[in-house]
């Protein structure tokens, strides 16, 4: 057992987690109500207005037909990338530090994906026909176009949502069972249903271990493919500055990067407001900080490559798009992104920075702002400068778009707040695994000799 030395007992964990579900303070309700109200006001109402009026409610125009909705879509897909992916990698490599945080990280994946799917609905012009992208036999005898990068997206994201849901659910079955007996009323009914009658027998544990490992093995290549495919929405076009082979690794690295930063944020919040300080420790922030440092270096490298290949190509379209990105209308945003995502994370080189919670929180938020900017710039700058100079344009988001952007954050928060009261947000059985197992107590000795 490689767990950190602590004095916790199995029952303590059990109590803590059950308490986090059952005992709900007024602050929680205030937070939930605020988040839900914000979701309604900032997300759903503007969206309904947009459904009524048309996409014209957003700021998009002729050359810039894609805007913040698509940027948000990529951002949320990217944010989803660390949860399940990281959890799978750490599960396979048997890293024990994953165990206290992976449940909430996976929930982050799931809810990011839900929000991303919502963004697709917001983005398309006629969302009431979105089901046409799914391959199902119909009376029109029409099938979707399987050659389209967008259809790859549909397939990949459907698979990813399915996979993440299954993965988080499978890992939670033993915990549902553990919570089941400690709750009453509707909660008891719900956990009884969710736990499927789990009893914790040796056979069940064995099957769970193998099924879980197979899922992890299947989900790792899936997660990598999902963001590659999202990048191909862009890279398969012939738009200068989008038509690049580096895009797939660029997006995957960017996704894991922003996802890891997202985990840091969520860990901080959980630690602060759910009293999980004993399970989410400096060790986690230290490790995540190292990961952030590595990813930021990778990300910077790919950015340098992107700029260099654009410059070296010498093609007029490429160089103009590059010049516009670096020094054009959107240049302040570009340099903001470089500062937030390439320079600030270098602070993670210091252990003192990595293990202090509040600076890490600020850093993680800065990184995600930078990463959102990156996605926005990819969409906005490239579309503003395409081949025909007559069709050059400029795009500024409208109030509806900004409101929906805020609303997605509120939507995500609402979902997450519901999650912490339904799912045991720290994986009990795996935290128990990392601890010292109870030792045989000599008959003569009294309790308290567990350590």
């Amino acid at each position: 057992m490689q767990g950190e030395p602590n004095q916790l007992k199995y029952t303590d964990i059990h109590e803590d987690v059950v308490r986090s579900i059952v005992e709900t303070g007024p602050n929680y309700y205030v937070a939930l109500a605020t988040a839900f109200a914000l979701t309604l006001i900032c997300f759903f109402f503007p969206w309904f207005y947009q459904l009524y009026y048309g996409i014209g409610a957003a700021g998009m125009n002729h050359p810039n037909v894609w805007g913040t909705y698509l940027a948000s879509f990529i951002f949320w897909i990217g944010l989803s990338h660390s949860g399940t992916l990281l959890s799978c990698v750490l599960h396979i490599t048997n890293s024990s530090w994953r165990k206290a945080m992976y449940r909430s990280a996976e929930a982050m994946t799931l809810f990011s994906l839900v929000v991303a799917a919502m963004m697709v609905m917001v983005h398309v012009g006629r969302p009431w026909f979105i089901h046409w992208t799914l391959p199902y036999p119909n009376q029109m005898e029409m099938w979707p176009n399987f050659r389209s990068p967008l259809l790859f997206d549909v397939m990949a994201i459907t698979t990813y949502i399915t996979g993440s849901t299954v993965f988080i659910y499978m890992g939670s079955i033993p915990d549902f069972a553990a919570v089941r007996d400690r709750t009453r009323g509707w909660r008891n009914t719900m956990y009884s249903l969710l736990s499927l009658g789990w009893r914790g027998t040796d056979t069940e544990w064995h099957r769970l271990h193998w099924a879980y490992t197979f899922l992890a093995v299947l989900i790792i290549p899936l997660a990598v493919s999902v963001h590659s495919i999202v990048s191909w929405d862009f890279a398969m076009s012939i738009v200068p500055a989008l038509h690049q082979t580096i895009f797939a690794p660029y997006f995957v690295v960017g996704a894991i990067y922003s996802g890891t930063a997202g985990i840091v944020t969520v860990m901080f919040v959980l630690r602060k407001f759910m009293d999980f300080g004993e399970y989410i420790t400096e060790l986690h922030f230290d490790n995540l900080g190292k990961l952030l440092l590595v990813l930021s270096l990778l990300w910077s490298y790919i950015n340098i490559v992107e700029v260099f290949t654009g410059f070296y190509s010498g093609a007029s379209g490429e160089t103009e798009a590059l010049r516009y990105r670096l020094f054009g209308f959107y240049a302040p945003l570009y340099w903001e992104m470089i500062t937030f995502c390439a320079f600030l994370p270098l602070l993670c080189a210091f252990k003192r920075f990595r293990t202090s919670f509040v600076p890490m929180l600020y850093l993680s938020i800065a990184i995600n702002i930078g990463m959102y900017t990156e996605r926005f710039l990819i969409v906005a700058t490239s579309l503003s400068r395409q081949y025909l100079p007559d069709a050059w344009g400029l795009y500024v988001p409208s109030a509806v778009e900004i409101s929906i952007l805020v609303g997605t954050l509120a939507l995500f928060t609402t979902l997450f707040l519901l999650f912490v009261k339904i799912f045991p947000s720290v994986s009990m059985y795996e935290v128990k695994e990392t601890m010292n197992t109870p030792k045989k107590i000599p008959v003569a000795a009294s309790g308290g000799s567990l350590a």
Binding site: G54, M60, N61, W132, N145, L150, V239
Partner: protein, 254 residues
């Protein structure tokens, strides 16, 4: 016919590379920039023929005007020694169209006449075709449009009015092509005669700069025009194999 037979037949019919090249007709257009005066009559004709919305001042300022055929203006030199180059730009009906591959629901595809078609009813409005199009000739309906009276009385009944959320673009006046093909069939002819069908822009062009016809017919006017040494395609290096060919403006050295 059983399901399996349908599969085998479809496979037999279409497996050869180039099944998409043997079109019944292959409509093409040439635009002689030497003759083009940049008057904009084609733009107006297109607007009238195809029920293009009049978007209004606000939408125009936002850059949302819908012009299936637009005149691109390129200025050269400094005042007073300035020169204006005008080039009409519309859907190039590429044979290897980037916009077609990206549509997830096959709302845009190549029909048997070699035209790049847009099916408004099928479109879900992802707008990716507009991004993939290097000519920027696809226009999106950002909202429903209204025609003030009496303009609503002069809408072309042969062309559908597009609703919000769908993409639209130049169709080479497909309603006229269809009409000409129907007429040819009624007359007992197998094919449409050269010059029998003209899109609105070609019909209107006062300087006869635009020529439209069937590229498959080597004797047609457009085929002769295509063999002109001045012929070039816009953004030919992108290998879109466009069907609109421009004839270069030739100027004396100054």
């Amino acid at each position: 016919m059983s399901f399996l037979d349908r599969i085998t037949e479809g496979w037999r019919k279409n497996r050869k590379p180039g099944y998409y090249e043997n079109f019944d007709y292959h409509w093409a257009m040439t635009i002689d920039l030497d003759q083009c005066s940049g008057c904009g009559a084609c733009v107006t004709a297109c607007q009238a023929e195809n029920n293009l919305p009049i978007v209004g001042e606000d939408a125009f300022v936002k850059g949302r005007e819908v012009k299936w055929l637009r005149l691109e203006h390129y200025w050269e030199g400094e005042y007073p020694d300035v020169k204006l180059n005008v080039i009409p730009m519309m859907c190039q009906h590429c044979d290897s169209a980037p916009c077609e591959t990206v549509c997830p629901v096959s709302a845009t595809y190549h029909n048997q006449d070699g035209l790049n078609t847009q099916i408004y009813n099928r479109c879900i409005g992802t707008r990716s075709c507009a991004v993939y199009c290097p000519y920027e000739v696809r226009y999106f309906n950002y909202n429903d449009h209204e025609w003030d009276s009496p303009l609503d009385q002069q809408l072309n009944p042969d062309v559908s009015v597009r609703e919000k959320g769908v993409m639209e673009k130049c169709t080479f006046c497909i309603q006229r092509i269809r009409q000409a093909k129907d007429n040819a069939k009624d007359d007992g002819r197998r094919r449409v005669r050269d010059g029998e069908v003209q899109p609105a822009c070609v019909q209107t062009c006062p300087s006869k700069a635009m020529v439209f016809g069937d590229r498959n017919d080597p004797k047609s006017k457009v085929s002769r025009s295509l063999r002109d040494p001045r012929a070039y395609k816009v953004l030919d290096e992108l290998n879109t194999n466009s069907s609109v060919v421009y004839l270069k403006k030739v100027e004396a050295e100054r």
